[in-house]
């Protein structure tokens, strides 16, 4: 799990890197520091998890450009932006590119930690959502074609009798399929089934 708690710091100022490193280290985060956007991009691996702490003003590629580039690359690391010039335009740009937070330098330690915690929380939620989505998918994959036909009609709000007529089977058989389908999907009511089918 600690592997998921890595904070990647990209800032051109060595003292800032050192100080943030110490602070986050004290709070049991793992760290990876980079002096500029290029070296981060060179090192970036697709399986990396964690959170990215980015300074805007850097020589070479600036923080906002790096953030956009990462979005293009499909990298889903949550990003916290730091800047000395907190102007509305760059804040807007950062949030449009899905930044978790936009912090002004000099940083407030508590807010920084809160922002990083929020970034990890978001990542965890995203991971949870992805996990439950794949679990549901697995369950859906376990349905027989007939059960899937029944499910589609139940979700569409048809009664058992209508479904029986449409599929040319007896209402009793429809009930059996429906019960097994709901059992396999682990839902107790039609309402739950509808919610699940909406994803």
């Amino acid at each position: 799990m600690t592997d998921n708690l890595t904070v990647f710091i990209v800032d051109d100022d060595p003292s800032v890197r050192d100080a943030l490193g110490l602070l986050l280290g004290v709070h049991d985060y793992r760290l990876a520091v980079f002096a500029d956007a290029d070296s981060f991009l060179r090192a970036l691996k697709p399986h990396w998890h964690g959170c990215l702490l980015l300074d805007i003003r850097m020589p070479g590629m600036d923080g906002l450009s790096l953030q956009k580039k990462l979005l293009e690359l499909g990298c889903d690391l949550p990003v916290v932006i730091m800047t000395g010039h907190g102007d509305v335009d760059s804040a807007r740009e950062a949030f449009r590119a899905m930044a978790v937070d936009f912090l002004e330098k000099p940083l407030d330690g508590t807010r920084l930690l809160a922002a990083i915690a929020e970034a990890f929380e978001r990542q965890r939620q995203a991971a949870d959502a992805a996990a439950s989505r794949s679990q549901i998918q697995r369950r859906l994959d376990g349905l027989t074609p007939r059960e899937r036909e029944v499910m589609a009609r139940v979700v569409a709000g048809r009664h058992n009798r209508e479904i029986a007529a449409e599929l040319a089977i007896s209402p009793r058989t429809v009930e059996v399929h429906k019960a097994r389908m709901m059992d396999k999907l682990g839902v107790a009511s039609v309402a739950e089934l509808v919610r699940l089918s909406l994803g």
Partner: protein, 519 residues
Amino acid sequence: MHKHLITLGFVGLYVALDAASFIHPLHGLNITPWNPAPALGLVFLLRRGPGARPVLVGAVLLSEYLVRGVPFPWWDSVLSALILAAGYLLLSEALVRRMSPSTLLDDRAALLGWMLPVVFGTLLNSLVYVSSLHVLGLLPPGGWLTGVLQFWVGDAVGITVAMPLFWWLSGERGRLALRAALVGWETLGYSLLGLLALWVAFGLGGDGGFKLFYFLFLPIVWASARQGMAGAIVSATLLQVGVIAAVQLLDFSAVTVAELQMLAVVMALIGFFIGGVVDEQRRTSDELRQTLRLAAAGEMAGALAHELNQPLTAMGAYASAYDALQARGEGGARLDAAINGMRAEARRAGEVVRRLRDFFRTGATKLEAVPLAEIVAAAAAHYQAKARQSGVGFCVAEMPELMLLADRLQLEVVLRNLLSNAFDAVAAADAGARQVSIRAERLPGELVSICVEDSGSGLGRQDLERAFESFHSSKSSGLGLGLVISRAIAETHGGRLWGEVADHGVFKLVLPIQETPRP
């Protein structure tokens, strides 16, 4: 008590001026070609306000009695003096709206606002006064037109030439400015030139109808061009007194005196307008310099704010880390690292603040002898690391051994600015083609040319023109004042800064060098 003394002094001076200027009177009446006393009266009224009106009327009456006696029935004399005094009261009413107590009449708008009421007010006053004399039968038949003209000339000239002097003398600021002008050696110079010009105009050229009168323009133009309104006032007063003295010595007729007075007023006005323009221009240039200094300070402060943010951020983070360690009772290496980090960052922040203070100190350019190589090295040092990091070939050529008379910090700002632009210009180029160089060569005429070149795409003529305008920046940070400020700094050093149209970036800074290189 003080106020009464001034009132008494005013009345005395008024009568004295009237007596001194009671020359060439027309028909023994108060119609003279030079009448400066009303100027004093107007200034007294404008400074004192409505409460001074009775004093002025009293002074006019007293003067009438003391200077001219009572040559005709006393009620006529009193009536004409009252009419005259009423005219001055009205003129002061017209002026009070145009002249704020703080004005020194040293710009064109104020001068016009003062002069037009004076010219037309005195004409009106002359018409009414001389007509009243006419009605009272004090003027000989047919003397009306000459009377009106002479009185007008006398009053208009008297007020125009003398009023700025009295106005300045009656205010603190004006007194200081006049005193400052009087102690200059140039005042002696144009005064002597004034005497010489008077001698040439009246002594040499007097017989030929003053063909050489235009020499009188020289001292007044000198004075007003160099000392502004203060010089104009001093020289106009000198010439007026000189012309009157010459008139008395050479015993001219009243008509000639009136002509000469027209000349005096034209000279005075030319002097005042030159002086006003010079003062205006001086103020504008002071304001511009102040604005540029503020802009430079703002630019500098922006850059320094960024530099201050870094140590403050680091300090905050160290402090937060310290708190967390302290809370869990952890000591050792990490606690030490936090404390040492804070100490180092505090020092760094202090350094930034010191630089800011240095810059404000040098708001006034402080020149000292500095080796060129030292300034270039200091500026270039900031870019060596950057060059390595971003793969830019950075070439600092060997500098010729010479000394600049320069403000070290300001010139460093200029060079850093040029280098920073050069590095930005090559940032977009291919890795192998990033080159920045700085070199210098001595030019004839005790000059040195410092040239910053980059392998970027260079600037076209239009880009270059815009680059030196405020608030035009191709960069996302800063206000785009860098080159504007750099050029201003170069110019305060007696140098120039410009960009050249080329296929790569070329900026040249030419500075004067100290003439004798240190052995």
